[in-house]
Point group: C2
Chain length 243, copies 2
Amino acid sequence: MPERWTQWSGSGTEMKATYKDVKSDILAKIVNGDWAPGDLVPNEMDLATTYGCARATVNRAMRELAEDGIIERRRKAGTRVRMTRARQAKFDIPILRNEIEALNAEYRYSLVSSEIAPSPDWLRARLQLSGTTDVLHLVCMHYADGYPYQYEDRWINLDALPQARDMDFSELGPNEWLLSETPFSDAEISFSAALADQGLTDFLECGVGDPVFTVERSTWLAGQAVTYVRMSHKPGHRMTTRY
Amino acid sequence: MPERWTQWSGSGTEMKATYKDVKSDILAKIVNGDWAPGDLVPNEMDLATTYGCARATVNRAMRELAEDGIIERRRKAGTRVRMTRARQAKFDIPILRNEIEALNAEYRYSLVSSEIAPSPDWLRARLQLSGTTDVLHLVCMHYADGYPYQYEDRWINLDALPQARDMDFSELGPNEWLLSETPFSDAEISFSAALADQGLTDFLECGVGDPVFTVERSTWLAGQAVTYVRMSHKPGHRMTTRY
DNA sequence: GAGTGGTCTAGACCACGTT
DNA sequence: ACGTGGTCTAGACCACTCT
């Protein structure tokens, strides 16, 4: 019984390879260096024969490896091990309430200010707004066990969400409300470091000049700008993920 | 000719739906609010009938929607529209050289220092190293058009990569070398904001107390710690993505 | 032109989890 | 027990792109 594909749990038995078997076996070959970056991988029909499964099974394994950035596929040219692995990190952006409660801390929300005004120029530019539109400007604080956790500076396009004009955000945070209003959207998110200015220090209970991890997010729904938010985190905040 | 699934490019023709048709049509229903968060979505067999395609085609569409965090699937319980969309952002972590050259800037690398020493305690803890191991400590600078772009503080586990002991990193940066040595790995990455200290200001040509966007990454290969790196970026640096 | 991946089918069996 | 999604098959046709 020829076994060209070593080390998978079913080797030595009569079991057929699943797409996960194929995927992890090929991944192992690449990790071990049997197949080096740039190398041509056998085509799907040959691999199907090797693993004793249908071509569709191999196809799924290879498709996922390609999605993971491990290999590169092109019709006719075949499949190659990527020269430099595409390193991509995926962050889950949780609802703040859930993030804080996951830390076994008590979540508290507080509305600092709320006002309606014509959109300032910098916001029009950032959200690609055309003409004059009224926006709702909200400032909110989020606390974990009573300690400041995040300062939220949010602007909502009232043309896109007129129902926000009469909403009362003193109890429900705009983030959770927006999630219930807009089930899906495109977004641009960016991370940076900023200094705590006088306005921030009062709310985050930190010193002027402390470094503040900042997340900005702009959101569109069906091509129309919905909201821009700048979230400033307490000193020492980290955002972590594995990949 | 019944058309239960409105608005896809092939509607009104005799064409059969592809998995992309099914995916985008279902997504449209969710965006429009036809199917609200929490709603039960028809099962795969019914959808296959509706769209006039095989169940496998519907399955692929639904599987991808689940991967994208739009819906939630459970055997027997069926498929539901997610209550709160899982917001996840995917960042591409490019090779620094490519990132800088994509900005039409000239990339330059410089080795600041290189020394071999026993692993300090904090590093052993962070990388879960057992016992005493020698590590290679490198400090490097990366420039774009001659301006400081990133300060790299890297530690390499010489037990995992003994060949690094004799490498000359004065020309080739450790990042690019590691990528060619380890085609695949697990990693933990985290973002935070820090203050420029005296050591950083000289290299980044900034002032003491400037906010510095910091990325840290720890890497493992087959369960063994390979490297830890802290990358400090020039003031004003942003990391952006869409999702 | 020809080889490769991309997709679809109609059917089948299985794993899981709700009932 | 039974309904749902998860996966596999053997075959087919198509789309891309390299030579």
